[in-house]
Symmetry: C2
Subunit: 405 residues, 2 copies
């Protein structure tokens, strides 16, 4: 008998029929002799609807009140799922993030989990009940105010509860049946991966893979919580995300990801002096701009071009400071390009395989795709290309590394 | 500078435009120098929608989970109203019933308020903020579970907070502009009352007046909280419900109410022995049947007919026990009549005015309306008549007692 945390996303509880199907699955798991903690997101698009309501009621919705508002969505789904589980013949009790002891900092809208005080959850499990917990939310220890964890927050709730309660695994049920070697909408022959390491999943999440939120994977790696990503529509086995032992069989490249949500800003002809990059990226960070890739090329006359990528949504914030910044560092100007996309290959086997990068560049060259920026980590290679060429790049790389099933 | 509790019902916050209008009014009150606590219901028909969802998810929704579910409605409206108030230029903070210290018993769906521990509310008021509190909900001191207060619960929340915080008054904003001498849909010339006593309001609420819930008026009377019932659409002065000093000017009859939501059950030819009525009404009470009027007539041969009224919705529960009950007490049978209605006249001046009852009976007789049951209190007279004659009865009585403006 194990303790299992099962997390169900918004599409998994989008309507009463889906909720009843989830309840049946939870009761089956319980009847197999396991203790079950269920973490649930808001139904379907209900969070988007609440955000729209907020903007209809206030030009600039207050952050504390926005969190109070948004947590209503999970409150509804957790109560409906609990009553459906009870109706299906098991005991169940629902708890808000606060009641379940999800303690966070005070950053409304993107709070971080500081601790899990799961006393009420443990008591209810001991009494034989399934415990249903609202995802995406917690309570600030300082102010006792309700907080939300930001995008992908329900995954983080599930992993944090699994870590805090010592669960054997955390099952993330979603509307896809696992993690694929590439986005199946772009690469029809993409293969479902049986297993990926935490590090690979982190790189995938950071470079456009949408199945798991980055923060939840970090949390799972730091606490050693195995995640099983699987479908709540087929209920079949999905992809395990966990510590993977190196082996000869390990594929060099596990997956290709892509991301067209970023833009590129280039500052031209910056004097090549110490402290310039520090000044640029401190200024942008203070302004709240999330800079991702950074590339600097030194030219022959002691001037450099600095390029960086940022979410398209952060362009207005960056533009607020760019003019002053460029003047301050003595650059000649800056340009913004929102027609870019990034393609990345990820694989733990890359560490020990020379020639992986060359294959990537050759493949793109053979397709006539120009590379605008390059960035690397020990298990990832990313190239910035034109956005309208990125799908062709993904398809070519998927073939080149022999990832089709 | 006073502390004022303002309560807004579902129709007052039904959409973003209504919420912004309410926010403007609250900010105006605040700028007049008052401390303001706002109690808010769920938007429009959202509670009905949640109840429907529950029944779509579970054949018999669990009571604890139903309360968790329903409280999401006020959570949404309180957050939206708070952000609209902040947007309109005042400080505001929203609290759930639990956070506002509304302590109840454990009766899910119809919990009673046991205490108001308004520490967080007082702190926020002292800091200069408007405090927005979710109506209709509290938290059980015993189990720490969320509870709801049942129909009209937001009025009770408002009055309980006004009493607990020592507010100068409790303003109940609704979609009508006050308490009328009769339902204006039935009596077009009905007059808005400037003032009614707690006792009159209690009798009105108990006999079909829908403006205030009975429990909230009882609470206000017991704690001496003046209520001002007024419109959130016109914002004009409404009706004061408070302790009224007797005076010569007091009208004999303040209002006519009617109620067609009850049915009548008659048990015929019951032996006229001590303890029979006790047996009948204890059995029905144990079954959860809400008996209202009771009339017993003794016939000449030591047998009596016992008639009582009950909500139509309680008929199935009553029928479950009637056969056994009638046999047990030796009655000859029972009949159910759901084609009745009750018309009542209410007025504090009735205490000292002989002849009021005679006028009522004469008026109904002149209209050719038969009286099936009569019941009286010191300030109320009720007659049960045919349901299809009740509007005519209301109109005739309104004229007979000279209540038109």
């Amino acid at each position: 008998m194990a303790l299992i945390v099962q997390k169900f996303g918004g599409s998994s509880v989008a309507d009463p029929d889906r909720i009843k199907a989830v309840a049946d699955h939870v009761v089956r798991t319980k009847r197999q002799g396991h203790d079950v903690v269920v973490v649930v997101s808001a139904m379907g698009k209900s969070t988007d609807n609440l955000i729209r309501l907020a903007h209809d009621c206030a030009a600039r919705p207050d952050e504390r009140e926005m969190d109070v508002l948004l947590t209503a969505g999970e409150r509804i789904s957790m109560a409906l799922l609990s009553m459906a589980i009870i109706d299906a013949g098991a005991q169940a009790v629902s708890y808000t993030g606060s009641q379940a002891g999800i303690i966070t900092d005070t950053e409304h809208g993107q709070a971080k989990v500081l601790a899990v005080r799961g006393d009420r959850v443990k008591e209810s499990l001991a009494s034989g009940a399934v415990v249903v917990v609202a995802g995406f939310q917690g309570v600030s220890a300082d102010t006792k105010d309700i907080t939300t964890l930001g995008r992908g927050g329900s995954d983080t709730t599930a992993v944090a509860l699994a870590a805090g309660l010592g669960a054997e695994m955390c099952e993330i049920y979603t509307d896809v049946d696992g993690v694929y070697s590439a986005d199946p909408r772009v690469v029809p022959e993409a293969r479902k991966l049986a297993e990926v390491s935490f590090e690979e999943m982190l790189e995938m999440a950071a470079t456009g893979g949408k199945v798991l939120a980055l923060r939840s994977v970090e949390f799972a790696r730091n606490h050693g919580v195995p995640i099983h990503v699987r479908s709540s529509f087929t209920w079949g086995p999905g992809t395990w995300v966990r510590e993977v032992q190196s082996s000869m069989e390990q594929p060099i490249v596990s997956g290709v990801t892509h991301d067209a949500s970023e833009a590129k800003i280039t500052i031209s002809r910056v004097p090549d002096r110490p402290g310039i990059a520090a000044k640029v990226f401190r200024t942008l960070a203070d302004r709240g701009v999330n800079v991702d890739m950074i590339v600097q090329n030194v030219s022959t006359d002691n001037h450099a071009d600095i390029s960086f990528t940022l979410p398209k949504t952060d362009i207005p914030k960056a533009h607020d400071v760019m003019d002053g910044l460029v003047a301050h560092i003595g650059g000649s100007g800056f340009s913004t390009d929102d027609g870019i996309a990034r393609v990345s290959i990820i694989g733990a086997g890359m560490r020990t395989s020379p020639g992986v990068a060359a294959t990537m560049f050759e493949t793109l060259a053979a397709e006539g795709i120009n590379i605008e920026m390059i960035s690397t980590s020990t298990i990832r290679l990313s190239c910035v290309v034109r956005a309208d060429e990125v799908e062709r790049a993904v398809q070519a790389l998927h073939r080149a590394y022999g990832m089709a099933g």
